[in-house]
Amino acid sequence: MQIGSWSRALTLAIGAVFLAACGGGGQTSANLASPDKQILRANDGTEPNSLDPTQQTYTYERAVAIQTYDSLFRAKADSSDVEPLGAQSFDVSSDGLTYTFHLRQNAKWSDGKPVTASDWVYGWKHLLNPALAAGYVDPFFDQTIAGASNYGSVDTTSASAVDAYLNGLGLSAPDPNTFVVKLDHPAAYFKWVATLWMAAPLRKDVIEQAAGGAFSSTDTTKAEAWANNAATIIGNGPYKIKEIAAKDHITLVPNPNYWAAAPKLQQITYYYIADGNTAYSQYQTGALDIINVPLADVTVVRGDPKLSKEAKLIPTLSQYWISFNTKEAPLDDAKVRLALAKSIDRDKLVSDIEHGNGKPLPTFIPKGMPGYDPSDNAQSFDPAAAKKLLADSGKAAQLAKMKLLTRNTTGNKTVNQFLADQWQTNLGVTIQLDVVDSKTVTGQHLRKGVFDIYGLDGWISDYPDQQDWFDIFQSGSCHSLNWGCLNIPGYDALISKADAESDKTQRAKDYTQAQKMLIDTAVVAFLYQPYEYDLVKPYVQGLTVTTTDDQYLPGDSRYNQAYITQH
């Protein structure tokens, strides 16, 4: 409730002179602000729907969870591999089916108790409990953990059925420092699944105490009784929750029992400011240290001598595209799809519509990930070739009857109007926009296949492994992720092989071949890789900005290494 007053007290100190605007990070104790000033205030945008990491789905929820819970691994700063977090190392059996995680010996919970392998088993079972219906559970039951694949057929009203399912999972704790996961199929990417934030350990004793004793595995209310109370959210991450101010902010303070060196930031406050313009005003009046710049203000910030120096343009591991309903004519014809893809000027799209916040990219895998290869120009902008393709197909008249399904948001309408103009100018085809309520797009149109062309569609990396991307376009994903439902001959088998392949070179080769299939058949029209444009006050130092950070919170994967300088 008192945010108004304390933020003011703090801003009084900010006004004067910016002493340390150097970005080098070579701090000395002289310019380090005193511990009571080591406070970072950022905007998370939306309140998490749950503070139990296993029950989360959204990035704004992850932002809190990665500070309060460590998963087994995290991505290295350059995304090239995983690095230890909750686990120190792991072994894979020669058949690729058994993962043995050697846990960090000195890891402790925020209440001082040691983190044991049984806490990991308990947390993962909580995640995989079908009665709780966790939103992000798919990577754990879909062709991975042994015994998990019948997740969807468990009778979630029967405690014995749920118990039988959970006890049959390939999760075990042979000793307090060893967590063993058995898989159904070899999955070369499973180390990356172990970086996902919802795969956290949980404390059975704390959860049961909050529930008032042991409870049935089908009792969803008791299972989550702990998760709305700062006192019972005992985590193993670098920070712990000090205060939950519903809908307004959350305050994190260092976990004194964390295994790594004590962080310099003594407090992190995440506000839940939904309106980007409000956050921007708060940044300008010194009430926030880090924000995401609203698209409407990007040009102003770029032209402002002071603000432009505080801005960071950060690539994300994401890619946008336009989906085609390949189950209907004329979009079942690859020539028509390629004609549409080749008549979009992506440079103009990024510079005019996205104000430069992105990288034009007519290929699939975004820059910064293994597999990035912009050399395939099958979808590159070429109006003459596009016109020829459409003429060859002889389906220009049919194409003019197609509509572009558009979400009723300003951003989406602007982009889609641009695309329609491009097709009009470069292809001579008029395609109307079909604007519908955002909320009904998925249920009423995409899942049912009731659309012609749909965009912007896209993908944000869960982890920087290609499996996460290529699985999207498997035919089994028709009407779930692969909205266009194109079935490319040989693609499914190739991806299943690559996903399981332990030979890195062969695996990369398979994915390269798959990427060519996707681009050349124009499964979708690839457009651009979005970048985030954030503002960071010059006195926030020691940030390691990586592509796996939250888009609103650059550097948040390693905030425990950041600090505030005197200002």
Binding site: N49, A131, G135, F141, G152, D248, T278, A279, R407, G443
Partner: protein, 334 residues
């Protein structure tokens, strides 16, 4: 049969004015029960007719069919709609408004209690601003009709009524927050967001109050002009009563009747929250929570908020009707 009244007792009570008032209030409160039932019925029906499910996301990664199926079981959405409705009514009768779909394991009543105090504080302050400012400006304009004061007041009222409050809110933030911060080096400015019992209340309260102030001022002016021309006012002047007495006792008391009528709904409007004001100033109030609930199809939260709003409106109207009795003795309680 404690509490039941004998016909003779009933007559005795209704024969007095305060007794009639009690019966009137009790009857109106009892009427709220069927009203609330129909509010729930209509909201429930519309909610389920609206396309989109609570588990569809507006963008990005979608939940898998397997997970959606399990969520429907977890929240009872796999049951027939009629059964869901009866179960809901049954729990409401027990003052249980269920669990939110969006916020895990949070009760709807808890969520309402969490956000309503913010909205109510701002709404109440705005209301307290409307009565003196709106009524004052209206009376002033009427008493000084066709003078500069009248033109300025009514000009202000017209401007305030025509600007949407997201424009006013955003403008105030730019001027009083961002520009003031820059101009004074951060020594004097109003906070652009947040809630506290301090200067952060100024901009949201003013933004919220402007439109009702303008409306009340115009209404008060019209009604006061009407009253001024009445015979009894002329008589009061003719008797040689001082202006203060004429204005307060004769003009104001009569001209305020239509104003009081609108103050009830205005109060209800203010304390049920404004999504725009709450978004622009990032106030964790109920107006925003309601819109978020509708967007995410959080059925129990939508129903709970609607019930709360209906109650507030019903009570506000009841208070207005009771207030009539005291302002205007001609009002009959039937």
């Amino acid at each position: 049969m404690r509490g039941a009244l004998l016909p003779s007792q009933l007559r005795a009570i209704t024969s007095t004015r305060s007794g009639a008032l009690t019966i009137f209030i009790v009857r109106r409160i009892l009427w709220m029960i069927p009203i609330l039932f129909f509010v729930i019925l209509i909201t429930f029906t519309l909610m389920h007719l609206a396309p989109g499910s609570p588990w569809d996301k507006a963008g990005g990664r979608q939940l898998s069919d397997t997970v959606i199926n399990n969520l429907n079981i977890r929240y009872g959405l796999n049951k027939p709609v009629a059964q869901q409705f009866l179960l809901y009514i049954w729990s409401v009768v027990h003052f249980d408004f269920g669990l939110s779909y969006q916020y895990q394991n949070k009760t709807v009543s808890g969520l309402l209690l969490e956000s309503w105090p913010y909205t109510a504080t701002i709404g109440l302050l705005a209301f307290l601003l409307i009565i003196p400012v709106g009524v004052g400006l209206g009376v002033l304009a009427a008493l000084r009709q066709n003078t500069r004061i009248d033109y300025i007041t009514m000009g202000f009222a017209t401007v305030a009524a025509s600007f949407p409050n997201f424009v006013i809110g955003a403008l105030m933030v730019v001027v009083l927050s961002v520009l003031a911060y820059k101009a004074t080096g951060g020594n004097f400015y109003l906070p652009a967001a947040g809630f506290g019992i301090d200067d952060s209340l100024i901009m949201p309260v003013v933004t919220l109050a402007l439109l009702p102030i303008a409306y009340t001022a115009r209404l008060t002016r019209a009604s006061t002009l009407d009253t001024i021309r009445q015979d009894f006012v002329r008589t009061a002047w003719a008797k040689g009563l001082p202006e203060r007495l004429v204005v307060i006792r004769h003009i104001l008391k009569n001209s305020l009747i239509p104003v009081v009528t609108t103050l009830g709904p205005t109060f209800a409007f203010l304390v049920t929250g404004s999504v725009i004001v709450e978004t622009v100033f990032s106030i964790p109030g109920i107006g925003r929570a309601f819109v978020v609930a509708i967007e995410s199809r959080d059925y129990p939260m939508i129903l709970g908020t609607t019930v709360l709003f209906s109650l507030v409106i019903a009570v506000a109207n009841l208070v207005v009707d009771v207030a009539y009795v005291f302002i205007d003795p001609r009002v009959r309680l039937t």
